[in-house]
Symmetry: C2
Subunit: 213 residues, 2 copies
């Protein structure tokens, strides 16, 4: 029986990754619960113009707000959804596949910011209501990586990597997007479905297993 080209390629990639990276350095997992990023216009409509800091998040300048919103879909609603600041150019709602079923919306898997053609959803607060025309996504998993770490791991912005996540139900997650910027601190973001699916919690160690492309 022959060894497939795919397997040879995988093995070569694995050896190269082992030779060129530092596999012992682990990346902390951070679980992203459902949350909303708002434009200034939508902050005006929902909260009278201002977001209030509840606490700082691990990514520099990002914060959890005291304000919460209700998501309203065709089948169901989800209450007390976190709002993250600061304001962005476009509002964006990040939910899990489980949440999508609760709301009753076909929700695509997209990387943050890539919201053209995605479905909308209704946001409500005690102050107002906003019907977003688009912006509802299931966020693709990704690693926030400062430049120095990217050099050490020998990866670049936009690379896809496979990551060994060592939770109670260990998995190797493929197609994890690397995002490199000195505005980031090192962390791998996955959603609650992915976290529950592999039995991991915040700071479960993850290790880059191979570089895919």
């Amino acid at each position: 029986m022959m060894i497939s080209e795919q397997t040879i390629e995988r093995i070569v990639n694995q050896v190269m990754a082992e030779l060129t990276s530092s596999p012992s350095q682990s990346i902390p997992i951070e679980l992203s619960a459902r949350h909303v990023h708002l434009s200034q216009k939508d902050v005006d409509l929902l909260f009278g113009g201002k977001l209030t800091v509840e606490r700082e998040l691990s990514q520099p300048d990002q914060f959890l707000c005291k304000e919460k919103v209700r998501l309203i879909g065709p089948r169901g609603i989800i209450d007390r959804v976190a709002v993250l600041g600061p304001v962005r150019k476009q509002s964006q709602v990040e939910i899990s596949l489980t949440d999508a079923r609760t709301l009753g919306t076909e929700t695509p898997l997209r990387q943050s910011g890539d919201i053209n053609g995605t479905p909308g959803v209704v946001l409500a607060s005690p102050h107002g209501i906003v019907s977003l025309e688009q912006g509802l996504i299931i966020a693709g998993r990704h690693i926030h990586m400062p430049e120095a770490d990217a050099e050490q791991f020998r990866v670049s912005d936009g690379d896809l990597v496979a990551v060994h996540v060592k939770g109670e139900r260990p998995v190797i997650m493929e197609d994890v997007l690397v995002r490199v910027s000195d505005n980031f601190s090192l962390a791998m973001h996955i959603d609650l479905d992915e976290g529950n699916g592999c039995g991991c919690i915040n700071n479960t160690p993850a290790v880059i297993f191979e570089k895919e492309c």
Copy 2:
């Protein structure tokens, strides 16, 4: 820089798996939603002694019942939970980690049947109430495999394998238990958290990637 022993071992295993198995043959994924297996005594208490077939399941002789139960935990309840037949020696309740949070119970990851020392839960129906002393688990992922498939895949009952699950968010799941018996039909069972986490549905193809031990 050296290649670690772990990597060499993984590569050797992978080549051996490729040489000795038929990696092109895929195993259908079946998503297990939360469900309950009941002892005859608990069927007596909850449903007056008899289970009614709603439909046959993929595994021979297994069936979904018309009867449903309510699960009652310290924090929350879950309604209309599926009952699977036929009756078993011991009642067992299989939920996801997400469900465990809804109920408010610390629920261990166990393989089916291995329930000694697990927490209990309260089951209710319009006919009665049962307080199980144990039997609440998050079921470990596993593959049901007839003898002929086991021969072809070169695996034995009790083996652990890593499985490439090719859903929308592809992963390699490690530590998947192989259960071999001619009472089974070929299928890999994962729970809804695992299914949602990797964006797969019933019959998403899965391929054995390597034999772990």
